[in-house]
């Protein structure tokens, strides 16, 4: 191989394959491109390409096999990183994420063990109960699943997955009316969700409730109405409300926040400093709020649930819309915008006025992202 080939061969090959993929994508081209990235030493990009290939061609066996292998390697690396971090800066999200990884590898006993350790250390975090509930569903231990999922929902009333699974378990144990109530709760923050509407129809039929009953009479919507009314009566001013990441861990273990947690808190605060920004919120993969800086009039739990739902909808459809894997979305409404950005394994949402300086906001988000990555 000549010097020119050594220097430019890999990048030229990648560019050529990317151009071919844009015109006429095939499973074989995705495999070749992943291999080219692998050869150039960019393992992360190779894994991304395989993931994209599988989402485009879910029935192509070779690309599915290769992607599963790449994911397994990624999971093992992530398990090591999380285990180390739990030792130094424990927080409940780390336990839930680690348990999820063991669950993905079908290491059930290890998953249960990690969930139990997480619950013991951080009993007020709903995500760990959710993972445990999923395990019991897989084992068809309905009573145990019910107890874990009810606890998860009690701690986080806006958790889409926990509410959905709880409704499904209620159906399994012959409590369709309870299932319908939980599904109605989901529709409050995921209006028009077709999968939930379908489940709700079945639950109402089983419970003997008219299927055309309004879906917006859930417990959550009643509570929101009461809370909104109380605020109006009290005349409470829309003060700023801040949730700091690492707070739970600090209270429990008395440890200092990590550099990364500090970067998250600082980043959220800096976004709030941009003129026209009404608030920023960072949620984890379970829809739980990690850090937030919002007006007091905004319920951070509801905002987190809405954002997670929007993210799920947008990212689930991004490949079908021809843009590849989701990176960023901007929803523009008549009286404001929401910027949603993939932030590693979290989702960042920024609420802004229509006249916000987009360039400045995007730069602040980019700076925030880089600061977090540097401290990862």
């Amino acid at each position: 191989m000549g010097l020119f080939d050594f220097l430019f061969g890999a990048s030229g090959k990648i560019k050529n394959l990317e151009a071919q993929l844009r015109v006429r994508p095939t499973p074989q081209l995705y495999l070749q491109l992943a291999d080219a990235y692998k050869e150039s030493g960019n393992m992360q990009k190779a894994a991304q390409i395989l993931k994209l290939g599988v989402s485009r061609f879910p029935s192509a066996p070779e690309i599915s096999r290769r992607q599963a292998e790449a994911e397994k390697v990624e999971r093992e690396n992530e398990k090591r990183r999380l285990t180390d971090k739990i030792q130094t800066h424990p927080n409940p999200i780390l336990y839930a994420r680690l348990a999820e990884l063991y669950k993905a590898d079908a290491e059930i006993e290890k998953t249960i063990q990690i969930c139990q350790a997480g619950i013991k250390a951080f009993p007020k975090y709903g995500g760990t109960y959710l993972v445990l509930g999923q395990i019991y569903i897989e084992k068809q231990k309905w009573d145990e699943a019910l107890s874990q999922l009810e606890k998860s929902v009690e701690l986080d009333k806006y958790n889409y997955m926990a509410l959905k699974l709880l409704a499904q378990v209620y159906m399994q144990v012959g409590r369709p009316a309870d299932a319908a109530r939980k599904l109605e709760d989901i529709l409050y923050f995921a209006p028009g969700d077709e999968a939930i509407l379908e489940l709700l129809k079945k639950a109402r039929e089983a419970a003997g409730v008219p299927t055309a009953a309004p879906a917006d009479q859930s417990q959550i919507s009643r509570e929101a109405a009461i809370s909104g009314g109380r605020r109006a009566v009290d005349g409470t001013s829309p003060n700023r409300k801040t949730i700091m990441v690492g707070r739970l861990a600090d209270q429990k273990a008395g440890t200092a926040t990590s550099m990364r947690d500090k970067a998250l808190n600082d980043g959220i605060a800096s976004l709030r400093g941009v003129e026209g920004v009404h608030g920023a919120i960072l949620v984890d993969q379970f829809g739980l709020v990690v850090a937030a800086n919002l007006d007091a009039t905004i319920d951070e739990g509801l905002a987190g649930a809405l954002i997670t739902n929007v993210y799920r909808t947008a990212s689930g459809n991004s490949v079908k819309l021809g843009v590849g894997n989701f990176e960023e979305g901007v929803i523009e409404g008549e009286s404001g915008n929401v910027h949603i950005v993939q932030f590693g394994d979290m989702i960042l949402a920024v609420f802004a006025a229509t006249n916000v300086k987009m360039g400045l906001l995007e730069k602040t988000i980019r700076d925030f992202s880089m600061a977090v990555q540097e401290r990862h």
Binding site: V23, L306, V310, L321, G322, V323, F326, I331, G333, G336
Partner: protein, 115 residues
């Protein structure tokens, strides 16, 4: 409709565009590459319905536009009222310039839909 899309597709960075009715059915489409127009139409329509509900819940009024950036391309879905305008763009497109053209095209789509 096709003339509006042909004009829009001449703008630097635009890879294709289409007009979809509110039920997700393609009215007209013009793309440089081989894409599944019907699939995109159905997905764009259901996505906009879901996002509109969420936007109203956050008290941002009616949803007007959604800009989606992926690791390959960028997409803009504009709710023109009677129809949706879908525009597929290169990922690194200068949005400042394209926004003006997309807004003009959306206005023309509204005019055409009235006829």
């Amino acid at each position: 409709m096709r003339a509006i899309l042909t004009q829009l597709n001449k703008v630097q960075g635009v890879r294709g565009s289409m007009v979809i009715n509110r039920d997700g059915i393609v009215v007209a489409g013009e793309f440089a590459d081989d894409v599944n127009e019907q699939g995109i139409g159905a997905v764009a329509s259901s996505l906009l319905t879901a996002l509109d509900g969420a936007v109203k819940r956050i008290n941002l009024g009616r949803m007007t536009r959604f800009v989606l950036t992926g690791n390959e391309n960028k997409a803009v879905i504009v709710d023109t009222g009677p129809a949706l305008l879908f525009v597929l763009l290169q990922r690194d497109t200068n949005m400042g310039l394209v926004n003006v053209e997309i807004r003009d095209a959306a206005k023309q789509v509204v005019e055409q839909a009235k006829m």
